[in-house]
């Protein structure tokens, strides 16, 4: 019964969100049926629909896992946006600086750079909370702004191709490229940016599952999130857990950089993130902070994001911001889970 509720409840939240979204569309003057048809329909075609959807899902899986791990540890990581920017730049930097190294060496190094940079940017608010008790929500948001400014500065002043009007870095070395899935999946053209990063995301989801439920580290993270007083009593160092959890969360968010830089653009492209960090929050909450749920939720939001393009193009009044509205509504309905409790308690 409880398992059924675990599944029904996120479904209920999604349906409610869609219902309210429909009202918004009506208010704006468009047809909800038309909008939703475009939103959901374009994800199903092969190869473009499915290919792009899975590609869009990849960063959402990473940020969703990041927020999920943090929530399991009792922390709300709103800083995935900043963490992934710093990580993307770091991975590009390694790819630029160490051009010439063989793939077998360069790709792992770039990946480590992404995870390391993300972990560091995540550990900062963790340390601030552990040492000073300042709330991670405000600090992560501040660091988001700082990260964007920092990375923008580095790109603009040091790593841009002279004369290039676009805010992007010079390209990374060829050996740092991650192959597109099109190169070994029959029927999938290589122009679709779905790449090995997606497989990495699946592996990351599995590793998060193992971490949280099969290792002592995961036990300690979950215990701290459940009850810091009891965890402390059990000999767990709360401060250490806060920093560790934020670092792992940051590392996961940072892996977005791998997909983006090594598998898609092959350079650092300023502003590449389409609110992946915030969407990750919705993904984690909808997925009940469980890797399997995160995969499904990421898929749903990727479908919406893919659908946002034709909505933007083919409807008169509604823009693809409707997707962001739907995400926010999902968060609100998931947060209000008391709404789905059976009446009669009072």
């Amino acid at each position: 019964m409880s398992r059924l509720r675990e599944l029904l409840f996120p479904l209920g939240a999604v349906l409610c969100a869609f219902a309210v979204g429909a009202v918004v569309v009506l208010l704006v003057g468009d047809s909800p049926i038309e909008v939703y048809r475009l939103l959901l329909g374009s994800a199903l075609s092969w190869p473009d629909g499915i290919g792009y959807t899975l590609f869009f899902a990849t960063p959402l899986i990473f940020t969703g896992l990041a927020v999920a791990v943090a929530l399991r540890g009792g922390l709300l990581n709103i800083g995935a946006e900043g963490q992934l920017y710093v990580a993307a730049f770091a991975t590009a930097w390694v790819g630029i600086k160490l051009t010439g190294l063989p793939s077998l060496l360069l790709v792992p190094l770039c990946c480590l750079a992404a995870m390391g940079a993300g972990a560091t940017w995540g550990a900062i608010p963790g340390l601030l909370k552990a040492r000073f008790g300042s709330h991670e929500v405000i600090n992560t948001i501040m660091l988001n702004f700082i990260a964007v400014a920092l990375v923008g500065y580095l790109t603009q002043y040091h790593y841009r191709l002279p004369g290039d009007p676009i805010m992007e870095s010079v390209p990374i070395g060829d050996t740092a490229h991650l192959p597109r899935l099109g190169s070994f999946v029959p029927g999938l053209p290589e122009r679709i940016p779905l790449n090995v990063g997606f497989l990495l995301a699946l592996v990351a989801a599995w590793l998060v599952y193992v971490l949280l439920w099969k290792t002592k580290w995961g036990y300690e993270i979950r215990a701290t999130g459940q009850s810091p007083a009891a965890a402390e009593y059990g000999g767990i160092s709360i401060r250490k857990e806060i920093v560790l959890t934020m670092a792992i969360s940051g590392a996961l968010a940072g892996m977005v950089g791998i997909n983006e830089v090594l598998g898609y653009r092959y350079r650092y492209y300023d502003g590449f993130s389409d609110n992946y960090g915030f969407t990750g929050i919705a993904v984690a909450l909808l997925g009940r902070n469980h890797p399997a749920g995160v995969l499904l939720a990421a898929l749903l939001f990727a479908v919406l994001q893919r659908g946002g393009v034709p909505v933007d193009a083919f409807t008169q009044l509604v823009s693809k911001d409707i997707v962001q509205i739907l995400q926010a509504l999902v968060i609100l309905f998931v947060a209000a889970e008391g709404m789905f409790r059976v009446r009669g308690k009072r």
Partner: protein, 518 residues
């Protein structure tokens, strides 16, 4: 004011807290409601006060059925309640607390002077001395209780419900409190006290209602009954008030505490009772004692006198910067060891707040059974002991559940599904299975039903007989004197004295609890 509960029933989820209760309280009397923890006494009175609404049944005030949906309604009818855990807003003044909800003056302006004047008058009339401008946080527990009483009297309560009013008072303060009750009765007020202390019931009440498992099982005139009869009604069978134990055979000294002091900030993680104490002074003040293998040293004292901090400090849960003095375990200076390391040394800790400290309520019994030892074999194994060994974890859980009679015996259940007594048995099982060299136990049977209490007491004695050193803290004086071989009394964080539990009288111990010297 006469109060009557007729066929009152209340259910909380699966638990039937009140089952068709019929209780009549006569006007101008002191009426006691007794029962074990979980018998439903507080629930019934909270319904009368409007905190909860009954599922069925009715409440009659002076013969008329009344609809009491919120404390507002009860207050309007003249019913007041003083809860077990005081309902005071600590950073505000006495006056602000008393007038809250019934403020004099207009909506635009609070008339503080008028309020202070009214309070001084009431205070004088009932001889409840208190300073209206004092901040509640700085008051002693006895003073805070007076503020609570004034709150009810300010609203012209004719009927007062007092929930476990003497839980935090010393024996002398209890006498003063009884005098207040007698004064109120002589003024025509009706008083209901909810308690599990039978001696007090016999001392102060006119009638007593006994509850068990949500039902009324007895309604007697106090002068016509006895403690034994009340106990039997409460429990349903003859109660063994004495613990069977052989004389202690103490061995080597295991724990040596010298000049231990803990400052106020160190008590920050402490329990609710400890927070009643004024903020400035030291929580533990120059305490020294020893505990030997094979003996039970009991710490007696009213809650809030440093017991919580003492145990938490010994368990390693208070930061070292707040502690001075020395604690030696065997030949090691314990203060250099973390909480985790202390468990490794063989120091087990049964915490006083099992919901907050002792258990991860959403986790399964199995996961709770390894809390504290989860990072080393047998719970963890593999390279770097990173992976959890589910088989070993389940086996350990099953062992604990079996040996310590935890019900229901299903290690996959979440800990919150268990009753208080079973949760406590789980924790005790987990700690006893370490196995410990030194056992720190605080409030081992709080909120636990009688069957489990006897079981737990026997296990503690068995631990002692097996050579373990036991340091036991309890607010229940009978428990401490029954179990311990030596008793230290704490008052204001200092050791007021040491007594032999088999020879000392409650009066002697009570005197020490208030700081008097022997």
């Amino acid at each position: 004011m006469k109060l009557e509960l007729r066929n009152v029933t209340k259910r909380f989820g699966a638990v039937l807290a009140n089952d068709h209760l019929n209780i009549t309280i006569d006007s101008g009397s002191v009426h006691a409601i007794v029962g074990e923890n979980g018998a439903g006494k507080s629930t019934a009175m909270r319904i009368a006060y409007g905190f909860y609404t009954a599922d069925s049944g009715e409440i009659l005030v002076d013969g008329t059925p009344r609809d009491i949906r919120a404390p507002r309604d009860a207050i309007a009818l003249g019913i007041g309640m003083v809860h077990q855990h005081f309902m005071l807003v600590r950073p505000m003044t006495v006056t602000e607390n008393i007038v809250l909800g019934a403020e004099p003056g207009s909506a635009m302006s609070l008339d503080v002077r008028k309020a202070s004047g009214a309070i001084r008058a009431l205070s004088h009339e009932f001889r409840l001395a208190v300073d209206p401008d004092a901040i509640v946080e700085t008051l002693s527990v006895g003073q805070q209780q007076r503020v609570e009483l004034l709150k009810a009297l300010y609203r012209r309560a004719e009927l007062l419900i007092l929930d476990e009013p003497t839980a935090v008072l010393t024996p002398q303060e209890v006498e003063e409190f009884f005098a207040i009750l007698r004064r109120m009765r002589s003024q025509g007020k009706t008083v209901i006290i909810i308690t599990h202390k039978l001696s007090e019931v016999l001392a102060i009440s006119d009638r007593v209602t006994v509850m068990r498992d949500g039902r009324v099982v007895g309604d007697l005139k106090t002068s016509q009954t006895s403690a034994a009869e009340l106990a039997r009604l409460m429990v349903g069978r003859d109660v063994l008030l004495k613990v069977e134990k052989a004389p202690a055979n103490p061995g080597a000294t295991v724990l040596t505490v010298r000049h231990l002091s803990i400052d106020a900030a160190g008590g920050a993680s402490a329990s609710r009772a400890a927070r009643h104490a004024p903020p400035q002074r030291r929580r533990v003040d120059d305490v020294s004692f020893d505990v030997r293998a094979g003996e039970i040293v009991g710490i007696a004292g009213v809650e809030g006198n440093g017991q919580t901090e003492l145990i938490e400090a010994l368990a390693g849960l208070i930061p070292q910067s707040h502690i001075s003095g020395s604690v030696t375990f065997g030949d090691r200076e314990l203060r250099l060891f973390t909480a985790r390391q202390r468990r490794e040394l063989g120091i087990a800790h049964v915490p006083e707040d099992r919901h907050r400290r002792g258990l991860l309520l959403e986790f399964s019994l199995a996961e709770n059974a390894i809390l504290g030892v989860h990072y080393r074999p047998p719970a963890a194994s593999g390279p770097g002991t990173l992976l959890l060994d589910q088989n070993a974890i389940d086996q350990r859980a099953e062992l604990i559940v079996r040996e310590f009679d935890v019900r229901p015996a299903n290690p996959a259940l979440p800990a919150r599904a268990l009753s208080g007594g079973n949760q406590q048995k789980l924790i005790i099982g987990r700690e006893f299975e370490l196995p410990p060299v030194l056992l720190l136990i605080s409030q081992p049977t709080r909120g636990v039903d009688i069957g489990a209490i006897e079981f737990i007491h026997r296990k503690i004695v068995a631990m002692r007989d097996a050579g373990c050193a036991v340091l036991l803290v309890s607010a229940e004086l009978e428990e401490v004197t029954a179990l311990a071989d030596r008793v230290l009394v704490l008052h204001n964080g200092r050791v007021a004295g040491e007594v032999n539990p088999s020879t000392a009288t409650p009066e002697q111990i009570g005197l020490l609890m208030t700081g008097g010297r022997r």
